[in-house]
Symmetry: C2
Subunit: 226 residues, 2 copies
């Protein structure tokens, strides 16, 4: 089995991306970044998901992006609540973390090169929530080009592939895909602003999109909401 | 004064790049990464250099790349000693750290976006030591293209510039440039494998290139060698 690196946050999308990588026949090395996120409870979710889906390795890197701030997920800015779809789509949300996916992919590339992997999976999605610039296909293609120039493995003729199997799927399609691949979404965590016991707030963009996705998929959302 | 982010290792090249950024009129935010490097003594050098050259801010991010290994600088591989120029030029050296400059530039981009900077300086050089793939101009151009796609600032029309003022200079030219700009090279540290008291080994590629550079520049090397 060829190795792949899979960025795994512990959320619904990355769990599904990992299930796709497993289905594709890769020996999966999961990479989670503890970046000082407000919802650090997702780190425990990433461990549960990695175990359920059968990775060959799971690393969590510590990198405190609160040093830079500039986001509701890493700074003092409040997480928006109860926004409707048009408000969500109107601009890049304050939950955008500056250059986060560039940083994550760079770390995934470093990991990939050391384990001899040329395939990097991530669960970004440009449909339901197109506000984040670093979830767009053109960003992913640019990173792929960069990866081949940046590395010893690339200079030696290897070709990296950045695989984003969910990028053109709706949230409902993602959930149906993951369910068909055996993902236990009860192990995942999506909420940006969990309450004290780790339960989902039910009101942030991420909770609202998750709830609507399960509704549209006709499946029960196993999430415990506050 | 416009802000710029400058990647600062504490070595000769990045100190010179910082001096160029200061000369260019930028308010410099220096960024150092403590990545588990064997020569962590360079971190203290970065503080001395930042102070001497007058930055407006200096952040050190902790990111332990020893978790990935794969390099003589972060793992159990020995640092090569006493190599001649042809041996150095024959292949990518084992001191290559997988995807390091991609990771560093990603962090610099995150920092830049949060302080409103569009200029990122780094001291990479493709002449004296062309083995590292992530020191080449084509890599830097690819990262620049990525930066504009990756960020909110880029989507909003800002254009990032990755500035590598040393990329086409010889080591002697770098040293003469830095000296003309007032860099105190006695504050910098280049050695990959310092001895117990922090003195330079004098035998690794980095020491040998530094020594030869000062010789060719006709300037005294202030380094304390073991």
């Amino acid at each position: 089995m060829k190795p792949a690196v899979v960025l795994l946050s512990g959320g619904l999308d990355s769990a599904t991306a990992l299930a796709v990588a497993v289905r594709d026949g890769f020996a999966c090395h999961a990479l989670t970044v503890a970046y000082g996120q407000r919802h650090a409870v997702e780190l425990a979710a990433s461990e549960r998901v990695a175990r359920q889906l059968g990775v060959v390795a799971h690393r969590t890197m510590n990198l405190d992006l609160r040093a830079f701030g500039g986001s509701a997920l890493t700074g003092a800015i409040d997480v928006p609540k109860d926004r409707d779809e048009s408000a969500m789509a109107s601009s890049i949300p304050v939950t955008y973390v500056p250059a986060r996916n560039t940083v994550f992919l760079a770390l995934a590339l470093a990991y990939a090169e050391t384990v001899g992997a040329f395939n990097i999976y991530l669960g970004v999605n440009a449909v339901d929530y197109s506000g984040y610039p670093d979830c767009r296909p053109e960003f992913l293609r640019a990173f792929e080009a960069l990866a081949n120039l940046a590395t010893k493995a690339g200079v030696e003729g290897g070709r990296f592939a950045i695989r984003a199997p969910l990028v053109h799927l709706s949230k409902a399609e993602i959930i149906r895909l993951g369910a068909s691949l055996g993902v236990d979404y009860g192990l995942t965590h999506s909420c940006y602003d969990p309450v004290a016991d780790g339960a989902a707030c039910g009101r942030c963009d991420s909770c609202l999109i998750r709830k609507a996705g399960f509704g549209a998929a006709g499946l029960l959302d196993p999430t415990k909401y506050a």
